[in-house]
């Protein structure tokens, strides 16, 4: 990329933070994953092809960083048989924002990850399916179900837009 990195931070910083929060819960873990994502992205930025989709690339980096955080969390917690991408309790951005992230954290695992990577992160159905398993059609349904229950729990409206494909 020949574009100033600041542009990527400005345009995609919010998206990446939402993805990190949906995967890890709001709080220090999500903040750490955001920071690790942008430090790694800054390092790699000059080598990123000029025609790459910067947002999708950042979301993929964010996913890897979130998984790193989950692994580190698992190492410091009780041994677990598998490493589910669950948000940590205790994150608390406070105020209004608390509600939606709590509602996201309460979603079934697959819905939550689909909301993270597809709905918020903008990754296509097929790519999201490859990341979390299942079919593209299942991802589509999980996104619709997830957003519907979030809107029911938190806001008005239905899942009529978002990232359809």
């Amino acid at each position: 990329m020949k574009q100033p990195f600041e542009q990527a931070v400005e345009r995609h910083g919010g998206t990446v933070l939402r993805v990190c929060r949906a995967v890890l819960g709001p709080g220090p873990d999500a903040d750490d994953a955001w920071s690790e994502t942008f430090v790694a992205a800054l390092r790699a930025w000059p080598e990123l092809p000029a025609d790459a989709n910067a947002e999708a690339w950042l979301v993929r980096v964010a996913r890897r960083k979130a998984i790193d955080v989950i692994r580190a969390r698992a190492r410091h917690a009780l041994p677990a048989a598998d490493l589910p991408e669950r948000p940590a309790p205790g994150g608390d951005p406070g105020g209004e924002e608390r509600t939606v992230w709590a509602a996201v954290a309460a979603l079934p695992e697959r819905q939550r990850l689909v909301v993270a990577y597809h709905y918020l992160g903008g990754l296509p159905h097929a790519e999201t399916a490859a990341l979390i398993g299942g079919s593209a059609a299942a991802v589509r349904r999980a996104a619709a179900d997830g957003i519907r229950s979030l809107r029911r729990a938190y806001g008005a409206g239905e899942y009529t837009n978002g990232a359809p494909r």
Binding site: M1, K2, Q3, P4, F5, E6, Q7, V9, E10, R11, H12, G13, G14, T15, L17, R18, D31, W34, S35, F38, V39, L42, R43, W45, P46, D51, A52, N53, A54, E55, A56, P93, G94, G95, E96, E97, V100, V104, Y119, L120, G122, L123, P124, I147, L150, R151, Y154, G155, N161, G162, A163, P164, R165
Partner: protein
């Protein structure tokens, strides 16, 4: 992309809202963004804190190649950009801050971040200059954006004292190329560090203002500031 509303200490490479246009491949990737803002709000200041932390971490990892900020001055907002070596660019708003940043990214490094604190010392000196309390700058300068004769001329310009002026011809003579009057003119016109490297103190032999990257009003304002102080 320039947000001139955040005047005091920042410039933002701002969202042109349609990020999709510039990014082929996933044309609807950002489609959820506007909705996200109401269904998935981020509390005020959350991103600012993370961005400040990113600047720190980038510095620690040696990844902050170009740091910048903007400041307000009597001649309008100025963009200040620095490499690890020193101040590398001062730009007037009329040059287009986004275009300037894109040029810095292309010529120096795309690892460009808005990092106001990194330029506190520079901003303080520039503000003192405009307040009339500073007559020369004491800052590390990076002349890396110019080369050859132009850089030679630009490095010589600080020899013209505060409140003094020289003609393009005199400058040509001082740098040892008396016939290079036009080249001195283009060295001044392409000065990457206006205000700090005082190309505004160079006039035509007949006393005419000549040109100025910040516009003739700005050149006049700087000269009257110095004449009054």
């Amino acid at each position: 992309m320039t947000d001139t509303t955040s005047k005091t200490d920042t410039t933002r490479m701002t969202d042109t809202t349609d990020t999709t246009a510039a990014e082929p491949g996933l044309p609807v990737a950002a489609a959820a963004s506007t909705d996200d803002a109401d269904l998935f709000p981020l509390e005020t200041g959350a991103l600012d804190r993370l961005r400040a932390r990113l600047v720190e971490r980038a510095g620690e990892h040696g990844l902050l190649d170009v740091a910048y900020r903007t400041i307000d001055t009597p001649v309008g907002p100025l963009l200040l950009a620095a490499t690890q070596a020193g101040l590398v660019r001062v730009a007037f708003e009329r040059e287009g801050f986004d275009a300037v940043l894109e040029a810095l990214a292309a010529k120096l490094s795309p690892r460009v971040l808005r990092a106001p604190r990194r330029l506190d010392a520079v901003a303080a000196e520039v503000e003192e200059y405009f307040a009339g309390t500073r007559r020369s700058f004491d800052l590390p300068l990076d002349y890396g954006l110019s080369a050859g004769f132009r850089q030679l001329v630009q490095r010589w310009l600080p020899h013209i004292g505060y409140g003094k002026t020289r003609s393009y011809r005199e400058v040509a003579e001082f740098v040892g190329s008396p016939r290079a009057v036009r080249a001195v003119g283009s060295a001044c016109a392409t000065n990457p560090l206006p205000v700090v490297v005082p190309c505004h103190r160079v006039l035509r032999t007949d006393g005419g203002l000549g040109g100025y990257i910040g516009g003739l009003d700005a050149k006049e304002a700087l000269l009257s500031l110095e004449a009054a102080a």
